[in-house]
Amino acid sequence: MSAVRPNLCPQLSEDVVSKLRSAGVKTVVDLIKTDLEGLALETSLPYKDLVIIRRLLLAQFSTFPVNCSDFYLTTIASSSIIPTPAEKLNELLDGGLYTSEVTEIAGEISSGKTQFCLSLCVSVVMKARQNVVFIDTCGGFSADRLAEIAESLYGEEHLEHILQSVKVIEAFDIFHLMTALQTIKDKMVKKVDPFYDTLKLLVVDSITAVIYPSLGGQQMDGHGLMVQLSLKLRHLAADFSLCVLVVNNVIGDGKVSLGKTWSHVPHCRLLISHPKDQESNVRELVLIKSSRLATGGKTKIGITEKGIEDWT
């Protein structure tokens, strides 16, 4: 929704806009709600013009229903599945990470969340032949480690290609993150940068680092900003068929951070942990939320110099 401003449609000149504002019609919603006859009398604008303006604005700002079978066909054509490097994990996830979805990986300190993301970056570039944008909010991105994974899996000849297909954005507070997401959206819409035409994976590591400082206390904004952020991420995933991977923390006794509001945001949630009495590089992944699959499935992975792989 937006304010009524000049040139939204041909009949809306500066003069008309200022008359409408003085009559209390400030946003498009106000214009659609008010009784046009009364408004015509108050502002002494011709009634016919007001009807035309309303019709044009409705056409511009409404959404239109889509037939489900058309929607299904479009989804089939535009979606894809991104396989992870671990086969058993792919079975658990019914193929891998899906595009047009927000997937969340949550874990305690040093449980392997960033390693999972880096491994997936290499996987997307080499297996799906697409690009990745990695948004780093906590300084945990290590290009050295990404190069190590890439080189051990695919050798030195592909190293440069892999590294050039991953772009890194640093955003250390929530407003920078929103700006970064907006920039990505604009670049995808304008289609001037070929990198963004083949963008398939967007990683945000980690989302808690930027949301924590705004939550709680006397701040009125915090919750709202968190929800705004979640909307932006979901829109990016849905509108551009991206796979959005978000990293979250686990605190206390296996509780995922950011509370109930955030728990509704991801379509799919994985919990990664280091099971006791296992070797130091073994991790266990549990699917705790999915909009498509049965939850509760577990699998074990190992973290090596090749990134993550199945643990046998």
Binding site: T137, C138, L163, F175, M178, Q182, T208, G216
Partner: protein, 359 residues
């Protein structure tokens, strides 16, 4: 097209945001054609604030990099790799520790040393404050250090001991390799450490807030040490959610400065006891789990028998490992492997003041 961004996603004060919304301005496109005076009249916000808001919202689309606090543009991982490789880490004089950390304490990252009292956290900080000043001909950074002391455990005489040992080592290397001696002296080392003493958490937060100005005036600064970050946050804090907010804000501020000025941030943390039902109680780093996610690299220092060990618990690029180390007159050093050599030069003789600490 770039204009369809909601105004509430900008860093505008909440009271202004509500005034903008009630006046009907919801997205950036709505504000594009307005002058500050018009905006002020419509919303009732003061003229100067309107100017600020318009600058914030509209200059975004022009050239984000002109603004002070604008986020950096995206760089490819290849460029990041070249950047990382061009920034040498700070060596700690303990080869085991340096190898464990991947060369030393890295720049542009937050490294946290956690440990029980007496294990050597302050010694580690002082060692790093001296090591950052090693001249570049010896592979050092030739930088300066900011030392923020919250506990009062900083003793200048100890820093002098460590500095002397480092200076002697450098002069020895200079003699062997034919360089000029005297590039680094105890006086130059002491003058290269900028010392702050913070008495409560407000002073600490204020110091951190003013760091950017200070670093801009002293561009040689390459490391900021805080010993310890836990001290003031563990006492007199009834409101735990406030503590989490302050700590996470401080952590984000640190990582911003680390990447902006290409410096290393070293923090020390204390240990606390965790009780779990059905399990033995154990020592874990203090300040809670939400703080644990804040540091990029976490090293836990602990005792095992008579030896001190460093355990790399969290790292983005190195795997978990443990190395033993010792604290000598000259600072942090490796443990000499053969026990027979122990009596000779690398004497395990700690200064008596340290030995009295309760562990």
């Amino acid at each position: 097209m770039q204009s369809q961004r909601e105004l509430c996603s900008f860093p505008i004060a909440p009271s202004h945001k509500s005034k903008l919304t009630s006046a009907g301005f919801l997205i950036t496109e709505d504000l594009k054609h307005l002058k500050p005076s018009e905006l002020s009249k419509e919303t009732g916000i003061g003229l100067e604030e309107c100017l600020e808001i318009l600058k914030l919202v509209c200059s975004e689309s022009v050239d984000g990099s002109k603004r002070n606090e604008a986020p950096k543009p995206a760089v490819s991982a290849l460029e990041r790799l070249k950047e990382e490789q061009s920034l040498p880490p700070i060596i700690t004089f303990s080869e085991g520790l340096d190898n464990m950390l991947g060369g030393g304490v890295p720049l542009c990252k937050i490294t946290e040393f956690c440990g029980a009292p007496g294990v050597g956290k302050t010694q580690m900080c002082m060692q790093i404050a001296v090591d950052v000043q090693i001249p570049s001909q010896f592979g050092g950074l030739q930088g300066e250090a900011v030392y923020i002391d919250t506990e009062g455990s900083f003793i200048v005489e100890r820093l002098v001991d460590i500095a002397k040992a480092t200076v002697d080592h450098c002069n020895e290397m200079a003699r062997l390799e034919g360089f000029k001696e005297g590039e680094i002296t105890v006086e130059s080392v002491l003058s290269g450490v900028h010392f702050y003493r913070c008495h409560d958490y407000v002073e600490l937060l204020a110091t951190v807030h003013l760091l950017p100005e200070f670093i801009k005036k002293h561009p040689k600064i390459k490391v900021v040490l805080v010993d310890s970050v836990a001290f003031h946050f563990r006492h007199d804090f009834d409101d735990l959610s406030l503590r989490t907010r302050l700590l996470t804000t401080m952590a984000q501020s640190f990582i911003k400065r680390a990447t902006e000025f290409k410096i290393a941030i070293v923090l020390t943390n204390q240990m606390t006891t965790k009780f779990s039902p059905g399990e033995d109680s154990r020592l874990v780093p203090a300040l809670g789990e939400s703080w644990g996610h804040a540091s990029t690299i976490r090293v836990i220092l602990y005792w095992e028998g008579q030896k001190r060990w460093a355990w790399l618990y969290k790292s983005p690029s190195k795997k978990e490992s443990r190395v033993p180390y010792q604290i000598t007159m000259g600072g942090v050093r490796d443990i000499v492997t053969s026990p027979a050599d122990n009596s000779n030069d690398q004497s395990d003789d700690e200064p008596s003041s340290k030995r009295q600490k309760v562990s």
